[in-house]
Symmetry: C2
Subunit: 309 residues, 2 copies
């Protein structure tokens, strides 16, 4: 079934120990939709400027992603510039120019209204709540956020959390949101804020899912689940790894008839799989041209990496 | 089959956010042998002072650990005092008194000479090499080390590494030993120093095993394997978690007829299982009185935590 993602579509300039790119299409919605597109039809809502032309849009079109929700407005697209020269695990932001993204007001094309799966990428929680409200038919909603919204927009964020089936954020963000250093206690506190499930991304150590009670019919208390990350000899560019994880995770869920514990578990693996591809090349280069057999082979490798038999 | 462990037997004073203990029996050989004792017979070589009496020795005796190799000499036992108040993931050493451990010269009782499994806990690599040399019948040898030996005793350590079937150290130590920040590249460099396999402990994120070529007959290139750690709502005392991992790991290996890839994988899980028990109480309190069914239940929980089916 179709996933609708709302989030940033941007130009990135990135430098890492492996090299640099001065201008590549990035943004959370871009990574998410490319990763999800290998599993299910994807629709995007975002905003771009006049610098975003057919060449850029083709990155989506070639993966059959529906771009009718990408609004073109006068001005320049969101631009982000970051460096991983000091620390490959954490981007140092060199420059952020919000440009047309500053006044982003998501508009939902009529053709998108029947989307049953909705991903609220990392944007202002006020906009997340607004989109969620306008999509009453969405039967499963996942979302992301970041330290900026957790710190300074906590009240607005608190309104979004209870509407989420799963919140996908990283280790540090969970601890910041819960004001608690122990991961398990922090996870419980975040679940008490409303999301039915919480997926904590640990970067090179994988990801852990925690579940509220009665998330799955017939499974009142689901055990946490930990998916590994792939040990890689070279991480070329970590940008978008988390969004690619979310795309693989939610894309797989949307491709399945129902969200059962085994589906959730496999979705965690597909999330890790897509994250592992994303970081192998700059920007979305690797995610643009994957072969389905590569995805299945890597899924099998993740199984080998973590399973006793 | 019997494991022989050589290492420290000590008194520890520990403070953590959960409380404090002013004097409990600790030391790498203690944690290791208690954890391993649930899987296979264990023999210990260490040295203690006059302050180490029957009460302390009974901690070993009750687990049927052979203590004939614990030498009693005049003076006080090794004493370590540490605090986890600032950081639960890393001990702050408040005081170290080597005492009788200063002049530790491992003596191998004749009854121990037939031990087929040898664990060289974290001691001076000169002593590790000496013990290894005196145990020509040992068919599998594993070892640990620490930043102190890596930094200032590299030449001596380099002589021990090629004699090891598996080196078990933590993330930071692997990177320090290899002078390399990427874990996979660092692991390759450490394997090139001689150990047949490398087990990297990641604390709350579990552990990863890397294999040299042809470690297992018929499996020229074994895939890395990652065992999760158990997400715990309270880590009471992290002391000895790594040694308990090693004890569970090697104890299980020694209990099996041959070291195959599936045995190595299950051993990684039993390592994580014993590490998870160790941190639930102060010192060795939890490891002293486990029920075998608790170990199997937790092993099953680790499987649930990490397996798709």
């Amino acid at each position: 079934m179709s996933i609708l993602v709302v989030g940033s579509v941007a130009f990135d300039a990135i430098e890492t120990p492996s090299g640099r790119r001065d201008r590549c299409v990035g943004g959370a919605a871009t990574y998410f939709s490319l990763a999800a597109s290998y599993f299910t039809p994807v629709r995007v809502i975002g905003v771009v400027g006049e610098d975003f032309g057919l060449e850029e849009e083709n990155i989506f079109i070639r993966r059959s992603i529906d771009t009718r929700g990408i609004e073109h407005v006068p001005g320049k697209s969101f631009f982000w510039s970051g460096s991983y020269m000091k620390n490959l695990n954490e981007a140092q932001t060199l420059n952020t120019e919000l440009n047309v993204f500053q006044s982003f007001s998501p508009k939902i094309p009529a053709e998108y209204e029947d989307s049953e799966y909705l991903f609220l990428a990392n944007i202002d929680p006020v906009l997340q709540a607004d989109v969620r409200h306008k999509m009453p038919k969405a039967k499963m909603v996942c979302g992301d956020t970041m330290n900026y919204w957790i710190k300074d927009h906590a009240v607005n964020l608190a309104r979004v959390l209870p509407t989420l089936d799963a919140l996908l954020i990283n280790d540090g963000e969970v601890k910041m949101l819960a004001k608690e250093n122990n991961l398990v206690v922090a996870a419980r506190k975040v679940l008490a804020m409303g999301p039915k499930a919480l997926v904590v991304k640990h970067g090179e150590y994988g990801a852990t899912a925690f579940f509220g009670e009665h998330v799955f019919p017939g499974h009142p208390h689901a055990t946490p689940f930990r998916a590994p990350a792939l040990p890689l000899a070279e991480v070329v560019d970590p940008t978008g790894a988390g969004d690619s994880f979310a795309g693989g995770f939610f894309g797989y869920v949307a491709s399945q008839p129902a969200l059962t514990p085994p589906v959730f578990r496999r979705a965690m693996f597909y999330g890790s799989v897509m994250g592992s591809f994303a970081v192998e090349r700059f920007g979305t280069e690797r995610l643009q041209q994957l072969d389905p057999s590569e995805i299945e082979d890597r899924f099998a490798l993740f199984r080998q990496l973590s399973h006793l038999e």
